[in-house]
């Protein structure tokens, strides 16, 4: 209870401080009849972002997740926030083993020794919602056990409640508020997905099925008998972290080929299957010495609306082929909505994107640079609605693009599409 009150007070005080930081100087300027320009606001944005980051690192949990969400929304927030909050990683100090033991035993309904012959007390990874321990089942199989923090649901409820209140107050006082509440709704939806380990197991099985006959992909088996909504027991798979280029070379793997394999996997999930693993940060991706890509942590897996993959393909394709009119149609198919209801906004954005593409800046690559350009165009000529699925997919490709650059390769979606099948054998092959 004390913790929850303390968290509420901290959130409330910081929200008030941030609000004052923006509003008080603007009142003074307005009295003198002077408008504040975006450039002038930059130092304020920087200080505000630093304050938000400090608060998140102090409170952790949902605050970390919120900052990570904000860092992906360059269509809404100023770049100073995006840059600062990108630093918000969710590695947190682990919980004591006794708490973990209690959680595992309560969830599985048995003493830990009745299920596992070995259970390492020190976790191999810990994040904002759960931590992972190496263990061995009684039958000798090596496993990874993901255990949710015992008090996490309560903390999340408190934090989300606090943030909802802050958002409502902010929207009440600000005549032109940033759309924070929809962001919070989206975050709540994602957290609910991430907290349900049975759903995570279902998602892992679904992706494994998608690549059932693909020898280049490895999705660890889930041991359902020893899994619940809060404890997930899965096959332990080891490998080289996806960004460790030198280790890959030592193992005789070609990093650029590994990356093209990774791109194929994501393009197949997103564009073709319409169901994807939405969290490809380097901690969730490994490569085995035989070149199989290992994908972990399916908590944030997402089903895309029907037709989304085709719409995204059309957008990428029109950008790569300098076709403005096709790009405008793709925006509409993807669910972008303009405030005016006509397509002039999209035509302007398409022209800007094609101009950049024309200079060879994108070359079929779905990069962070490309999404930045797109979102900046949207901020300047505001589009009422950017579909949240697009934001999530853009984040995935931005992360992949970053990994690609580390491995000396490019995140070319169209090239990845030709990794196999009819496209490869048509006039698309290179």
């Amino acid at each position: 209870m004390v913790t929850r009150v303390r968290r509420s007070l901290k959130v409330g005080w910081n929200a008030a401080w941030l609000w004052g930081m923006y509003k008080i100087p603007s009142w003074g300027r307005r009295l003198r009849g002077i408008e504040i320009s975006n450039e002038e606001l930059s130092p304020t944005h920087q200080r505000a972002a630093a304050r938000v980051l400090d608060l998140a690192l102090d409170l952790r949990g949902v605050m970390i997740k919120l900052c990570q969400s904000v860092a992906t929304r360059s269509d809404i927030f100023p770049k100073e926030f995006i840059e600062k909050l990108k630093q918000c990683h969710d590695a947190v100090p682990p919980k004591p083993f006794e708490q973990v033991r209690r959680m595992v035993e309560s969830e599985l309904g048995k003493p830990i020794e009745a299920v596992f012959s070995e259970f390492e007390p020190t976790p191999i990874a810990s994040a904002s919602l759960a931590q992972v321990h190496r263990a061995r089942l009684i039958d000798g199989r090596e496993v990874a056990v993901k255990v949710q923090y015992p008090d996490i649901e309560g903390i999340i409820r408190t934090d989300l409640g606090n943030m909802r209140r802050v958002c409502r107050v902010y929207e009440f006082f600000d005549p032109q508020p940033l759309p924070l509440l929809p962001l919070l709704v989206e975050l709540t939806r994602h957290l609910r997905m991430e907290l349900d380990f049975v759903r995570e197991a279902d998602c892992a099985d679904r992706v494994r099925e998608l690549f059932a006959d693909d020898p280049h992909v490895k999705i660890p088996e889930i041991y359902r008998e020893w899994s619940t909504t809060r404890v997930l027991t899965m096959e332990l798979v080891s490998g080289i972290k996806i960004t460790e280029k030198a280790s890959m070379k030592e193992a005789g793997l070609a990093p650029a080929e590994v990356f093209q394999n990774l791109m194929y996997i994501y393009v197949r999930m997103i564009l073709a299957a319409g169901f994807f693993h939405a969290d490809p940060h380097p901690g969730n991706l490994f490569v085995t010495p035989t070149g199989e890509i290992v994908v972990l942590d399916f908590g944030l897996s997402k089903e895309l609306p029907e037709g989304f993959g085709l719409g995204l393909f059309e957008l990428m394709f029109s950008l790569a082929t300098f076709n403005e009119s096709a790009m405008v149609r793709a925006f509409t198919e993807l669910g972008f909505r303009s405030k005016t209801g006509d397509t002039s906004t999209f035509v302007a954005i398409a022209r800007r994107m094609v101009r950049r593409s024309d200079s060879g800046a994108f070359e079929g690559e779905f990069t962070e640079d490309m999404t930045e350009e797109l979102f900046e165009a949207i901020r300047e000529d505001p589009v009422a609605e950017v579909p949240s699925d697009f934001v999530l997919v853009a984040r995935v490709f931005s992360l992949l693009s970053g990994i690609g650059h580390t491995l000396g390769s490019r995140a070319n979606v169209l090239q990845a599409m030709s990794g196999g099948g009819p496209v490869a054998s048509s006039n698309a092959s290179r």
């Binding site: 085709l310 079929g364 599409m417 496209v423 048509s426 006039n427 092959s429």
Partner: protein, 353 residues
């Protein structure tokens, strides 16, 4: 009369005037109609005479133009008759899927502009001035790319196929598995091994792509005929005139692609290539070897594999028809048997290379 054989990129990309633009299903596409209502392909004002000039040069030198034997062309599956049977029985999904895949594959043809082209003047022993080869990056690849995928505010073949599909089948719902079918499944095999390591990977990739695209473009004749047969049939098409003409327009646009590719490959064939280890190899050996490989792949196992891939989906689509058993039986009875010819005509031994 002497013909000029050197052109600027702007010339090769230039179009003649049209009296009326081509609007396909509300999308402004390339090309247009002259005062007599005849369709005029885009970017052909100088491209057509240029190709004729380069072909005339080859002929003057006594070098033959490459011909891809039409008897190597595998039949479409499902055939036009089978596709019509499906549509007549309300089974639209396989045809809509096939047309959508055709449109996307056409669009992917634009990737030809991204192919890395080595310094050709240094590669060939003989000069290449005033040849098609010398103009690949000087307008020919770019014109091809723009024709296939559209450019700026004009649609290309991708959008024209979509328009033909939407006009004939009244804006059908595109099946959600189109991209999955298009991507196919990956096997255990790694990347294709080089056929001519001595010419270097960049040149082999470029020539391999050109050989591949040439064969695809020649075999596309079957696809065009299939499209015209199906989409211009008034019994099943809501807009037989519009849809049929659209496919004919695409077919007309593709002719310069076939012509410049066979011209440029014939020019390679008539020359000598410097190898990476400072020796030489006959261009004919390389071109024939690459064409033989492409044609073998496209005629031997692939038609059967593609047919097998499609069978399951077709059976699923037929299963929702009113009388699935009878329809499946009738569909199977229309099956064409096709055996690929024993030889491609480009076998190294046959050419004595």
């Amino acid at each position: 009369m002497t013909q000029t054989s050197t052109f600027t990129p702007e010339e090769l990309l230039s179009s003649g005037p049209v009296a009326e633009p081509l609007i396909a299903n509300g999308v402004r596409c390339h090309g247009g109609f002259d005062a007599d209502g005849l369709y005029r392909s885009p970017r052909t004002l100088c491209r057509l005479p240029a190709i004729q000039a380069w072909q005339a040069q080859l002929s003057d030198q006594g070098s033959p133009l490459i011909e891809i034997p039409r008897n190597l062309m595998p039949p479409q599956y499902p055939s036009a008759v089978q596709a019509k049977l499906l549509l007549e029985n309300g089974v639209r999904e396989p045809v809509v899927r096939a047309l959508t895949i055709i449109s996307i594959v056409e669009g992917f043809g634009a990737m030809i502009r991204d192919v890395e082209v080595p310094e050709l003047r240094k590669i060939f022993v003989e000069p290449i001035d005033g040849t098609g080869l010398d103009h690949l990056t000087g307008g020919l690849f770019e014109a091809h790319a723009r024709d296939e995928s559209g450019y700026r505010d004009e649609g290309g073949h991708k959008q024209m196929w979509e328009a033909a599909r939407d006009a004939a089948l009244e804006n059908p719902k595109v099946p959600g598995d189109v991209l999955m079918r298009l991507m196919g499944r990956r096997g255990r095999g790694g990347p294709q091994q080089p056929a001519f390591p001595e010419i270097g990977p960049e040149l082999e990739r470029m020539l391999g792509l050109m050989a591949n695209v040439l064969v695809v473009e020649v075999f596309a004749e079957g696809t065009f005929q299939w499209g015209i047969d199906v989409l211009s049939d008034p019994e099943i098409s809501a807009a037989p005139e519009v849809a049929g003409s659209m496919v004919r327009n695409i077919q007309a646009d593709e002719k310069p692609h076939v012509d410049y590719l066979r011209t440029a490959l014939s020019e390679v064939s008539a020359r000598t290539i410097r190898t990476v280890d400072d020796k030489t190899i006959s261009g004919k050996t390389v071109v024939d070897g690459l064409l033989h490989r492409v044609l073998s792949q496209m005629t031997r196992n692939r038609p059967g594999d593609q047919r097998e891939d499609l069978r399951e989906g077709l059976a699923r689509a037929i299963s929702v028809a009113t009388n699935p058993g009878a329809l499946q039986e009738e569909f199977d009875a229309l099956e064409l048997t096709w055996t690929p010819p024993e030889t491609t005509g480009f076998e190294p031994a046959a050419n004595g290379a």
